[in-house]
């Protein structure tokens, strides 16, 4: 049995190890055009800023691959023949497979802006973008970043750390406010400005100007303002990367369509991670999950199913974390999902960048907990939300959820007395 995995990100690697765990004798081949070994994509910014060498971003030591007999190929898959079970590789030509996992991740969105293919315009997704950023930054004094999401703020931090003047265009009234509630969003606006980034809210890109040599010379905003810059970072979200699948018989919509066992429309072909669009039963909305842990989870499910077990993907209670410059953010459950039943209890520190939010419904069941500047325990928050505890109960037990380092200033008493009044 020969299993081929396309892509060596979190989903593909997790799947490979799962298959090996169950099937010691199967041949496993993992193909990536991006890097020889698996590395942690979220660490790209740390390589660029000099916090970590590339070598340290590899979670698995090099020798493990040969120990586990997982063959690694540096190549790009350009076509899949699902009938004949053959892949076409860019450099090596044809390759047969018995079972296939597609885990090609996402790719940055481009919206057809005039000038978006000029030299100096780029996203930040893989190692090739990092290489490109090094080349582009070398002639950059001012950079414009378009798109107010997580990758945009990372890119701003990276370029700012080099002393480049960064102008950050955000379409919305406030940073990431379609995901974050107003208080959190406003706090991040403030942090971005304090760090010395030129934040332009409600500003959109109209076109990118050629400097006469095929390179970025500046941009024009939709309000007609011209900004001189040498680099444009496009970070307006990502979408499933199904470029290679589009011309095959495998069904796609926004992503590669799979059922809950992560199997695609083609026999013996599975898809996992950011590239997969999971069709849910009972008319529930299709799931496209594009975070690190869902990729790992789906990799595990896909790997188990490929190895002959039967497992179904159920999205877990939503959680995520991020860091905006020096500000940490944890979120659990439903927060700001525009549910009409959603009620919020919000505490904000008068001076320091700290926010705690408890979201509940009219039945007084806690449905979400979110924090900034305070670390919260995943397992505890998850348990409370699953148990449908009341906000009063959560406030009472808040100290149990705190995960800040020892000796840190605690705020449970303040939070309890401030928010406690609001629920009575």
């Amino acid at each position: 049995m020969h299993v081929v995995i396309i892509g060596n990100g979190a989903a593909g690697v997790t799947a490979a190890f799962r298959i090996r765990q169950h099937q010691p004798d199967w041949q496993i081949t993992m193909i990536s055009g991006e890097s020889k070994y698996h590395y942690s994509r979220p660490a790209l910014m740390y390589i660029y800023m000099g916090h970590m060498p590339y070598q340290d971003t590899k979670p698995i030591e090099d020798h493990v691959w040969s120990d586990k007999k997982i063959e690694l190929l540096r190549d790009w898959v350009v076509d899949i023949d699902t009938q004949g079970k053959k892949l076409k590789l860019h450099r090596r030509g044809a390759m047969d497979f018995d079972r296939l996992i597609i885990s090609t991740g996402s790719k940055p969105n481009k919206f057809g802006w005039p000038g978006q293919d000029l030299q100096g315009v780029q996203g930040l997704w893989g190692l090739y973008d990092l290489k490109l950023l090094q080349e582009n930054a070398a002639r950059t004094k001012t950079a414009v970043i378009v798109g107010g999401g997580l990758i945009g703020i990372e890119m701003a931090e990276m370029l700012h750390s080099q002393g480049i003047h960064v102008i950050f265009l955000v379409r919305e009234k406030s940073y990431w406010n379609h995901i974050l509630p107003p208080e959190e969003s406003a706090l991040i606006n403030q942090i971005i400005v304090e760090q010395g980034i030129d934040l332009r809210l409600e500003t959109e890109l109209k076109e990118i100007i050629d400097n006469g040599q095929g390179q970025v010379g500046g941009i024009v905003t939709t309000s007609g303002e011209e900004i001189t810059c040498q680099l444009v970072g496009l970070t307006a979200g990502v979408s499933p990367n199904c470029d290679m699948v589009k011309e095959t018989s495998i069904a796609t919509k926004r992503g590669i369509l799979v059922d809950q066992s992560l199997q695609t429309s083609a026999p013996d072909v599975w898809a996992a991670g950011d590239c997969a669009e999971i069709e849910m039963p009972e008319g529930k909305r299709n799931q496209i999950n594009q975070v690190w842990y869902t990729a790992k989870m789906q990799g595990e499910i896909a790997g188990d199913n490929v190895a002959g077990m039967k497992r179904q993907y159920e999205p877990p209670l939503w959680y995520n974390s991020a860091k905006f410059f020096d500000l940490e953010y944890h979120t659990y459950g439903q927060v700001n999902r525009d549910l009409n039943q959603e009620l919020n209890l919000v505490w904000q520190h008068p001076r320091e960048p700290k926010i705690l939010r408890i979201v509940h419904n009219r039945a007084m069941e806690t449905i979400g907990i979110q924090s900034m500047g305070i670390r919260l325990r995943h397992r505890v928050c998850e348990k409370w939300i699953n148990e449908k505890q009341t906000p009063g109960w959560v406030l009472e037990h808040l100290a149990e959820a705190n995960f800040d380092p020892e000796f840190y200033q605690r705020h449970e008493d303040e939070i309890r007395s401030y928010l406690g009044k609001q629920i009575q």
């Binding site: 997790t14 055009g33 890097s35 020889k36 979220p42 660490a43 740390y46 390589i47 660029y48 800023m49 000099g50 916090h51 970590m52 060498p53 590339y54 070598q55 590899k58 979670p59 540096r74 790009w76 350009v78 860019h90 190692l127 090739y128 090094q134 930054a137 070398a138 002639r139 950059t140 004094k141 750390s161 080099q162 002393g163 760090q195 040498q230 470029d243 011309e247 790992k296 989870m297 595990e300 499910i301 188990d304 002959g308 077990m309 039967k310 497992r311 179904q312 974390s321 991020a322 860091k323 020096d326 940490e328 944890h330 919260l376 325990r377 995943h378 995960f403 380092p405 000796f407 840190y408």
Partner: protein, 495 residues
């Protein structure tokens, strides 16, 4: 269709890595504090050179002020300048790009300079007798006479010089740590603690004891790190010197046999290694810029495993041999141990190799005290580093900045507690984690840390027999199995 540009991408990241990015901007101007600091460093160095060569102000308070005083003030100004105007938070920009922090030419030169200093310091007499070395340390020692007179009512010797330099390094670079981690109370308290114990207990108190004609004694060093404290002849000498000496014997026994097990049970190894110990204190302050040099591969763990326990056995055999007077071999054994372990390993290599192998070479591969604390920590301590659910995204900052070379990420990404003999509980992994995944915790009991922790002896034998460090987990996300039909554990898959 795949982007044709991508198809052409064949950069070899393994071979070439990613060097420091350049930007078309002017490098920031030196702050006035930093410029002044550099000037003071230059003046202070000149002060030393003049005193050592010509002898101006040699042995006077003015001389100390114009040399070490200016150097310390200069370094403090440079640190103030560097952190001025920055935001409280992790400060590792450019760490991997600086030659001196990454085994570049400057790194090697610094490593060799510190090593040479230790060789001269430790083997001064031998070098003078058999190699005819000029009296290199005579004047640098004499420079400190006023301070030595004030504290110990005697002239400085070269061990006073060493203690002085050591303490200044801990305090000045401790000040740097206080600035660097000003947002993190755990780091601030811990740094103040090592500064306090170094200054008070490893420098001030021993010199005051000397002034009052009491035996030399360091209350913060115990057997087997300070191995002679439990040697029979040392105990006899201490006992015969009076009440204070007898208390010292009592303290040494209490520390080794009572305090160490109790405190390690309660707080883990960290109560000593990163809060009290002088070797740890220097590593956590002067050594901080090089903590990322510690290798965190499996191979290093295998070496460390052997060396540190071998040294523990060596010193235990020696101590037992001396107590039971097991023969004349003990005398030459004692001398060899002092030479190879006491001087070469803990001093010359331990500190000299900071810029090359990281700040904890001795603590990780050699220190027998760390070995005992490690066994206790592994088998019956309430301390563990906990992982916050499934939030880890494997970036690796924790492993990179672990000075003990623990692959922290290997545990964090599996959601496991980190219970490792070598962990000194410095807390930097928890500080650098960008997702708030790691936390140092003293739990309710030692037995809830990992599978098998309820039986310390079994845990010990298993950890000795282990061929890999990080256990595998059956399934990472047990919650994703079908309810009532979990097949991920038992059922054999198709063949």
């Amino acid at each position: 269709m795949i982007d044709p540009e991508l198809l052409n991408y064949d950069f070899d990241e393994e071979k070439n890595g990613f060097a420091a990015p350049q930007a078309a901007v002017d490098s920031p101007a030196l702050s006035s504090k930093e410029a002044m600091g550099r000037a003071l460093l230059a003046l202070g160095s000149m002060g030393i050179v003049l005193q050592v060569t010509v002898g101006i102000f040699l042995g006077s308070w003015l001389g100390i002020l114009l040399s070490y005083g200016l150097l310390a003030a200069g370094a403090i100004l440079i640190f103030l300048g560097r952190f001025q105007g920055t935001h409280p938070g992790i400060k590792h920009d450019g760490t991997m790009f600086r030659d001196i922090q990454n085994r570049g030419v400057l790194g090697w030169m610094l490593g060799m300079a510190i090593t040479a200093f230790y060789v001269v310091l430790y083997f001064y007499d031998d070098l003078q007798n058999s190699w005819d070395m000029p009296p290199l340390l005579e004047r640098p020692t004499k420079m400190l006479n006023p301070l030595a007179q004030l504290l110990s009512k005697g002239d400085a010797n070269r061990w006073f010089l060493y203690g002085f330099l050591y303490t200044v390094a801990v305090c000045v670079f401790g000040f740097r740590m206080l600035l660097k981690y000003r947002h993190n109370k755990y780091q601030r308290f811990r740094t103040l603690s090592v500064m306090f114990f170094q200054f008070g207990f490893a420098f001030l108190l021993p010199n005051l004891l000397k002034a009052f004609h009491q035996p030399e004694f360091y209350f913060t060093y115990f057997w087997p790190l300070k191995y002679e404290y439990l040697f029979p002849n040392r105990i006899d000498t201490l006992k015969s010197s009076g009440a204070i000496g007898t208390f010292m014997v009592f303290w040494g026994l209490l520390a080794t046999f009572v305090l160490t097990p109790i405190l390690t049970w309660r707080f883990g190894k960290r109560w000593y290694c990163s809060w009290v110990c002088g070797c740890g204190g220097l590593a956590e302050t002067l050594g901080d810029p090089w903590r990322q040099q510690s290798s965190n591969g499996q191979r290093s763990w295998k070496i460390e495993h052997w060396t540190i326990h071998t040294i523990l056995i060596l010193i235990t055999v020696l101590t037992v041999g001396l107590w039971f007077d097991l023969g004349s071999w003990t005398a030459s054994y004692k001398k060899s141990y002092g030479f190879f372990v006491g001087a070469i390993f803990s001093g010359v290599i331990g500190v000299g190799f900071y810029p090359l192998l990281g700040s904890r070479v001795w603590c990780r591969f050699g220190c027998p005290m760390a070995a005992i604390l490690g066994i206790l920590q592994r088998t019956w301590s309430k301390f563990r580093i906990t992982t916050n659910g499934d939030q880890c995204m494997s970036c690796g900052n924790c492993s990179t900045y672990c000075e003990m070379g623990i692959d922290v990420r290997g545990y964090a990404e599996k959601g496991l507690n980190i219970v490792r003999a070598s962990c000194v509980g410095c807390g930097i992994c928890a500080a650098v984690c960008p997702r708030g995944v790691l936390g140092l915790e003293n739990g309710m009991s030692p037995s809830d840390r990992f599978d098998g922790a309820q039986s310390p002896l079994l845990a010990l034998t298993e950890s000795i027999a282990a061929s890999t460090v990080i256990p595998e987990r059956k399934t990472m996300f047990p919650g994703t199995c079908e309810p009532g039909n979990c097949q991920c554990k038992e059922e054999a898959p198709e063949s």
